[in-house]
Symmetry: D2
Subunit: 411 residues, 4 copies
């Protein structure tokens, strides 16, 4: 039993921390202000890039802090899921940091899909510019008309028509759809409705300028459009793409999704842990510097206990996530289903509580844009729904727990 | 012991419910959409009125549903705090409804201050247009530089200079400051710094166009500017107002505040209870209409238990608030301190939980602007800080509880 | 709306409080010590009465503090459910107090059954000595072999055989079965298995010395036999009783149970609220008198907040229970199902939390028999299972909430 | 990063699990019944050994499953704190199992004290028979008259008088004091009241038959005397022991205590985790075998979610504890203060919740002695107070967290 990270992980983390401290944190507040002015309101057609972010991307790439998430030693940095975990945590401290290192969702997941399941042509056309950070991508899975917590509810369709595939359906919560550089979507739909339940779907690459792709609107998430990424609602009306845009094969949608989601949840969770650490730091600093009733806030009432609770929740959540990452690396996603579902429940709920505590310690400043706390709380709230709500993951953990007590095969 | 509302209260409630059902709820979504487009972003100088809201105000006034909060039979509707409580609950169901009935904070509190403590001239100049709904007002108490949970931290000053008062200081979270009709502020500051702790402050009326009043910016609250009301940060630099703008007297700031806050907390809490009832209704309706894994959501996992928990929390919170209102009416604010502080803690926390549950039942729709749920959650979060954070009110309840066991006078 | 208790209730409460203060509380600790020595261990055949308790019963009866629970003006004190509620609360402050006033479960519920549904002969034979406090009774419903949360699981049988009824089955958690004065049981079993689900059962009076009644053992409840009452497991093997022992009629078991449970839950809950008030008082007193790190415990960390939380939980639970009592009195049990189930969930959970907090404030003394706190916590734990577990009552509340949104009749 | 246990640990665990499965679990219920009859009531002078336990001790010793807790390769099994952790977990599944392997508190802690700080003579006289399991020992620290959460409140005294030490004071919660084999106490008291705060105390070995040692009574813990161990209250009246009974030196009491407590908390916590795993297993098994409303309980309402929550809480608590053990092994107790205090808060609270859930799933059986669940819940409740209450440990975690943000040395 050894809780130390590998030397490669530690070395990369040291460099990443230095970059965050020297280049990102000092401009955090300024860049958020610029964005708030530049990209106000829900009219995504007017959203624009933040030049300062683009410059930081170039710097990060030059510093070798690029595509850290990808285990491939050539295309990424050769870091395992466990190795990358503390780096993802570090990037989670600042809302816009992951993009600077080309490590932001949903692009990371989409790149993983292409890396593992894409054809050579698909890699050349889409993976390459994504790895370069030249374009952005979206993932079109959730639908407004059905409870998407049950993925088999999906209504969108993919039909073969000669050498083409014809897509129809309506999707929402396609994060990143409003980004000026968003160029391609991975679209999931019913391709083989007669097949067994988990072999009915396919994933197809769709250029966002294809005929029949209609961006309907951007959705606010807890009151914020999250520009210039955005959460889009988009309809696909007889969208025709060549068959080579199909990823892997018809009926493979769920198989691809499963491979995509394991590491992705580690990334999400570790970033959330980084946000929670940041929130706790801010809470302690505010609690030390503000005085009420003659004492710094940390000395008043239950404030110190709440700080302790935050520390204990964060440390538990981190260990749970690292253990899940280690299981993915050592025994594979399929043998780590309890662990992966468990962190999906535990970590966002933890962040929601820690951010809420930190907000309370800040008073009005906590809910304002003067701190990242309200954004952290909003992100936590979203994460409790994204990639399956708490309830679905609790159910998975329960099912596997109960199965231990059933005769083989009755799970 | 009788849990029935008075006939006057029941009659007014019936009319109010009819108005809400027929005139407000059908246009809720449309008006919110209009507002989102019309008043996007934080540049308050471009915010504008929603004509449809103005029209509804006229209708409500004609229907006798106007100034319901004011116990005065002539200026208001002669309803006691207890009588008004269920009406406040009803208006809490729709975010913008209170203004339609001229019952929105902070105007209600400001009107109460003028009604109880204002001079005839002040009533004529400010109370009258406020009661008419022609202007809006703000309350300038909280300051950015100090922990305002301890009101004695206040740094703003009010100095006598001949027949003038000279005001200096910086305030924030002045809700309504961005509203096109906002014309006057009640400014609280140190007037008698040498006096005993609760006799050091005064409240002064300040026209918002007075020289030296500088609106610095609007703050987001949980990501939203809450336009066209807004939460403003405003500086007062040697603002000079005539002495007749002083409310009551120098040193009376805390005495006024105490009188203002009792009924105000009932109003806030009852509105929050209305929001919680609405959230619960939406949760049940969504839970019945959406199907996952072959069943409506209300039949899945712990969803029904969460609905039950919401019902039990809401009913307890309502009874606690009604009891507090009844104590204000029968024994006065000073003898209802435990009750008033208790609801200030219990109700916003309850709403935060119920809204969170309802969001979760809705999936992505819950955090979007397609439902009022994210706004309810954000409002609950704000209420846990506004008018004293949870911690201050818990401390008050504890202090009074402990005092029961101390020799007289050692509380 | 009026939160004052009726004059009759207030007068009785004043006398009861005086009796508790002067006669019961001063000997509480001594009587518990006597009982612990006299009635140690699980051999119920050696359990004996506490003479001091018997003497207090006589005193209470002479003081007119007897059968307070019974609304009948002649047999009881003519107090409504709402009137009796604060009296039940008062008796809940001391574990053995309810028996002193002949107001202890399950005798109160059994007396109510006989009062409402018993024949004249049954009243003469059993209700009279119960009202006199000369005998004790038990209620045999729960069974060890099935999940009794679903009452339709019941396996015990009642068969007609000429002028006799023949009973078979095994029951447990028959509280009071070990008491030296326990003379009669109300036995519930399947009498009409072919009838509709809620018309299959009957209730029958069984003298405990009838042939075939076998007391198998006493069960510990959270480590305690609760002597000299006890929680018994008892088998009925071809127990033959005359048909006149049948209460009301065959198939009426559920109808009787429903009538029995409404007021009974008010009683249980109000006693639990009394226990919670006592626990809070003890917590504050301990917190004021013990010093650590230079301060009384109430000034340390979150202790004051926890005291406030207890006050707020208790007050909410009491209002919810009083409202339920008022609904029983004004619209009847059948129209107060949400309220009755809600208090059954809320109040025991509240007591469990408040007692836990008070234990923590006491340190080791809190879990010891030097305070009633561990007993309160154990009682709360039992109450979360007795008369239907939390889950069943949450389900009832949810079902009725959801039904509001269903077309008539689909609940 | 490697979450696998060492080969030595895994091998020992496999043998221990086999012993538990084959020799302990099959007789668990029978031995608890024997004990309940044999050792009923609080008269400790009549408590006696359970011969079956003594026989199992012999077997365990012969199987090499003896003194597993002691890192010494000769006297124990050479297992590090981390290595021993999963073994402690396994023994925690059955209440009386730790003693079978000579791994029960407080003997383990006392043996560690003698092992690290005892003189050769002390080791010969007391450590040897303790390691043989021939005698039992107690630890006398907590006092009834003061808040022992603040150890500096201690009032007991140790005075030098020639070659003797004279002890005075009253202690309680001396666990094991009622055991027939209890022969010696480690007594902690003020020896150097003028010294700095953490150098004022000493620890002294006191034979329980020394003149002036008076066992006053056994205390119930949550209603149970925990015979034949017991929790004793004991007075020391001018108890005179030779100076060679002093452990280490005068003024070293706190230094010894600190060394004693680190591994001890790992042991306590891992046993609690074992109890929680057992409780969860029982809950699932009950939930699968009992049927209500036509379904097994695990399919009803929120039961499956609660099972999932238990799994997630247990896994997090275990990882936190293993990490703390690893830090003790790698960087020492002094550098693992956050971790050691964190598990002391997290784990007992987790067990309390999991046991409570499992009780609820069992209905009445859950609170009875038919399952170990009520005992687990009671043990968890005790653990939240023993060795420092939650509040003290939360305070420690908070203090160290806050110190990270203070200038060096201001912690």
């Amino acid at each position: 039993m050894d809780f130390n990270h590998s030397p490669a992980s530690q070395a990369a983390l040291a460099r990443l921390k230095a970059f965050m401290t020297e280049r990102v944190l000092p401009v955090e507040s300024q860049l958020l202000d610029i964005n708030r002015t530049l990209n106000a309101g829900g009219d995504w057609t007017r959203w624009s890039l933040i030049p300062e972010i683009e410059a930081l991307k170039t710097e990060a790439r030059e510093a070798g802090l690029w595509n850290l998430f990808l285990p491939d030693a050539e295309l990424g940095q050769g870091l395992s899921c466990t190795d990358y975990a503390p780096l993802a945590e570090e990037t989670g401290r600042v809302l816009f940091a992951p993009e600077i290192f080309n490590c932001n969702a949903p692009d990371t997941g989409n790149m993983e899909v292409l890396y593992h399941f894409g054809s050579e042509q698909q890699k050349e056309q889409w993976l390459k510019p994504l790895l370069n950070g030249d374009i952005r991508s979206v993932f079109c899975m959730t639908e407004p008309e059905v409870a998407s917590s049950d993925a088999t509810n999906m209504q969108a369709t993919i039909k073969e028509d000669g050498e083409s595939l014809v897509l129809n359906g309506r999707k929402w919560w396609s994060t990143g759809l409003g980004h000026p550089n968003a160029k391609v979507a991975i679209f999931m739909g019913l391709s083989n409705p007669e097949a067994p339940k988990h072999a009915q779907h396919a994933m197809v690459l769709v250029p966002l300028d294809a005929t029949g792709v209609e961006i309907e609107r951007m959705l606010t998430a807890n009151g914020d459009y999250d520009a210039p990424y955005g959460h889009g609602e988009v309809s696909f009306n007889n969208v025709r793409v060549p068959r080579e845009n199909l990823i892997w094969d018809l009926g493979k949608g769920f198989a691809i999704a499963q491979g995509r989601l394991g590491p992705g949840r580690i990334h999400h969770c570790m970033r959330a842990i980084g946000a929670a650490e940041r929130a706790l730091e801010l809470a302690v600093q505010r609690g030390l510097s503000r005085v009420a009733f003659g004492k710094p806030l940390v000395k008043l009432g239950g404030n110190a206990e709440r700080i302790a609770d935050a520390r204990m929740m964060i440390d538990q959540a981190r260990l749970l996530t690292l253990n899940a990452a280690w299981k993915i690396d050592t025994v594979g996603v399929k043998n780590a289903m309890t662990e992966i579902s468990a962190i999906k429940v535990v970590v966002p709920n933890m962040l929601q509580q820690v951010a809420d505590m930190a907000i309370q310690m800040h008073g009005g400043a906590g809910v304002s844009h003067d701190t990242p706390l309200a954004s952290f709380a909003a992100a936590a709230r979203m994460l409790r729904l994204a990639d399956g709500p708490d309830e679905v993951h609790r159910h998975m953990v329960a099912r596997l727990e109960i199965a231990k007590h059933l005769p083989e095969g009755r799970a």
